[in-house]
Amino acid sequence: MPQINASIRPLLLAFFILLFWPVPGAAEDLSIDKLSEMSLSELMSIDTTTAARTNQKAFDAPASITVITRQQIRERGYVNLSDLLEDLPGIDVNRKSAETFFNQVAIRGNVGNNKFIVMQNGIRTGSPTGENIPIADNFPLFHAEQVEVIFGPASALYGADAFTGVVNIITQDAKRIDGVEVSSAVGTDDYYYNYLNFGKSLTDKIDLAVGGHWNSSQNPDLSKTYPQHFGKTDALNTDGTVFRRAAEREPFTAPTESYSAYANLDFNKKFFLGMTESFLSHPSTTGNQPRNTIYAKDAVWETRIDSYHGKYKADFGPDLSGESLVQYSVYELQPGSGFTNSFANFRSFKYAKGNKLKLEQQLDYRMDKNHGLIGGFTFENFDHIPKTPDLPSQFDTGRDANDQGFFYLGTDNTLPLKIFDINYQNYGGYLQAQSKWSDWFSTTVGLRFDYDTRFGESVNPRAGMVFKPVKDTVVKLLYGEAFLAPTSRISHEHFGSFTGVKDAQGRYISDFFHLPNPNLRPEKTRTYEADLIHNITPDFIVSGNFFYTQVEDTIANVFKDESSTFIDGGIIRGFEIADNIGEAEIYGADLKADYQTYFMKTNLKFWGGYSWVEGRIKEPGGLTGPLPLTARNKIKTGVTLNYAEKYILTPRIVWVDRTSNFRSFTAEKVRPYTLVNLHAEAKNFYKGFSAFVNVRNLMDTNYFNATTGGQTFLSSPQDPRTVFFGLRYKY
């Protein structure tokens, strides 16, 4: 049994008491007798599905799935994907955690925003080239019908990068929207959030759904909340000299901005056209210490991803159907992105761009009513300009990557900067057999083969058994493997500078560079898992799982004390490269409970989850360390009170244990914290108008999240209480 911090024992105790407290009256579903005595307004407040039915997919699927419905998203006030993930057991969301990808998400102890796939309606909407991108307001939920989160490796179906999980945001059907919904919210620190969502059947056979959001915020002035962290101090160059004196320091600033758009056009449920667009601008000074950085308004990191797809569903008979997909998606780190920190001499720019063309054909063969086969093949073509070295001015998108006129620092503008433009392909084929052998036993066995022109073959199996020993209980035994393709950003990234001095052979000397390693192999993982779900009543569900994960060939930087002539005309006397040198072992368990009941026109819904995760990563030199950006213990809980479908109140509580950062050799760990968030809403209070208020960090606690380290604080100070009010109108 792991050591449990004394401060959480009462919380744990309370949680388990709640979990197993006898629930009088909950043993039977709503009877027709009770329903017939209700008024119309009371009937209008009752959910059409029980908690058990809401979780039907989680119950039946041969995977560990959590489904969050539109109703839950609304009642709990989730605005974007990071809000939702933060409330799920088994997930760590560390906010303001990294300069380039902002919030960092760890699923079951394995951190990395690029290690799980984000999809919208089954189409990947994350980076097409596997970049580590922010998970924040660029993934909004205003249009979501439900969000499905699959835990564990899933490359057997989804291919590369379904390493720790898959998140699928399923948008509302046009018929379900049937009109227009607009919303506008305003809050503290100049927070604005607006969205519009439209859906309509244009004809009997054509449905259209379109929507978009726009948001901006100045965000809290952390120098007021954390004066000890953000007090005026000298900004120092890397050599220790003063770049800007404390008396001349600029005010703290950290604005964010985001927008998104989507469109789905559905022709007779056969042919679909769709697009998504997402943009996020966040400070590239995120988590930075004032001695290392200048808090400038133009110190931004701007991520934009566009995706377009066409899908055709064909029936080749009663037992065979097919689905053809064409997708083109582009990721671009906007040219204005860059750093104002000491490593960048307080002003530099970065650029990256990746695009993917994907063709996929899937066939679904129903052998009989209990046995089915799904198979398919994919072809993907990638073009990638990996993240450039620091640029003295913005990348000119109108010119070729190698015709930008940039030179390495310290070479008197003589050694031209290498900017890579890489083309590669991936070919994949997969087959999965699903069989229902009896009412109590079903199996899934699948295998996927991928060939990537950079690193070769990957074979990933999955297998699952689902037992229903009694009517309301399911036991799942799951096994899955996955691979994380080394993105060209990692394999081709290089940065560093020259001293300005030449050696005897006339070569510019550099003491240090981070150099590319195009021979990187994929990281690999496998997970063994057992799940148990039990419906005590249709409205009271408890579930738990235990998992054991192995990871190998993890990529980490290693220093090479040798020379390199990677850059023509230069000599690099010491360098580091990324290499497949690490491995990890992770195991843990989640316990969850969902309960709902009705009393006095009020629908009460409780949810709670406890997660425990443990493990070690093996680092260069044989050192081992704790799992970075992962807390050993977490409790996520909340309760929704819905009075007659008119007034909604949802307090949510997240408790996170001590968390390690990436610098495992440091003594500093992020201290435990409790975060209370609140959502309240007056629904349809006047002719289609609803009003809501969202409070984050209700108790105004000073707390910290774990970071990558380096230029940043090891414990990144988090926002004080923030509030926004909004109106929503549906017609």
Binding site: D29, L30, I32, D33, L35, S36, M38, S39, L40, S41, L43, M44, S45, I46, D47, T48, T49, T50, R53, T54, Q56, T69, R70, Q71, R74, K175, R176, D178, S201, D368, K369, N370, H371, A433, S435, K436, W437, S438, D439, F441, T443, V445, P461, A463, M465, Y479, K524, R526, P538, Q550, V551, E552, E583, E585, E645
Partner: protein, 189 residues
């Protein structure tokens, strides 16, 4: 290499594969959306209190006939309501699998399923007659069904085609209209 053991992996696959053949196949259990239709049945039971039929239509028994055409998704809910209505002012008589062309004999008709041709026949049969048509298929209210259920945020909602109720000579209370989404459409021919 501490992690991957090929022999164990093959053994696990083999075991899983063999397990597929251990248990004989049998029919899958039926899923039910009983709760949703129990709620809808309770709504229909409530509608009776807010809709006024011409006096002559209820004589001599005061009974109300609730018919279901097409697929019946209610299960035993309607029977239970009928049983409960025995002590109410208007006793509910449930008739299932009613021929669409005979729908005019009913006071309330629930038009089940998404069958457009079937709907046309029901609407033709009840045109100008004091019959409350009820459905739960998207677009039915626009086509002339008086009350049509839909689901919003996991709750049952309903829309009322005011023109359809007016043409059928039914008086619908403002209390019911206030809770409904009002739509137009359908033929008044």
């Amino acid at each position: 290499m501490i992690l991957f053991n090929i022999r164990n992996t093959i053994l696990i696959y083999a075991a899983l594969f063999l397990l597929q053949f251990v248990a004989p196949p049998s029919a899958p259990a039926q899923e039910s959306s009983g709760r949703e239709y129990a709620i809808k049945a309770a709504f229909i039971y409530n509608f009776v209190k807010f809709v006024k039929w011409p006096e002559r239509e209820l004589r001599p028994s005061g009974n109300l006939t609730l018919c279901v055409t097409g697929a019946d998704p209610f299960g035993p809910a309607l029977e239970k309501l009928a049983e409960k209505s025995k002590t109410a002012e208007n006793k509910l008589i449930v008739q299932r699998a009613v021929n669409p062309d005979g729908a005019a004999q009913c006071h309330i008709v629930f038009v089940g399923g998404p069958d457009g041709g079937h709907l046309e026949r029901v609407l033709d049969a009840v045109r100008g007659k004091p019959v409350l048509t009820v459905g739960d298929t998207p677009g039915f209210a626009h086509k002339g069904v008086a009350i049509n259920f839909f689901i919003e945020d996991n709750k049952v909602r309903f829309e009322i085609n005011v023109g359809a109720t007016r043409r059928s000579g039914l008086a619908v209370s403002s209390e019911l209209l206030n809770l409904a989404r009002i739509v137009e459409g359908g033929s008044g021919k």
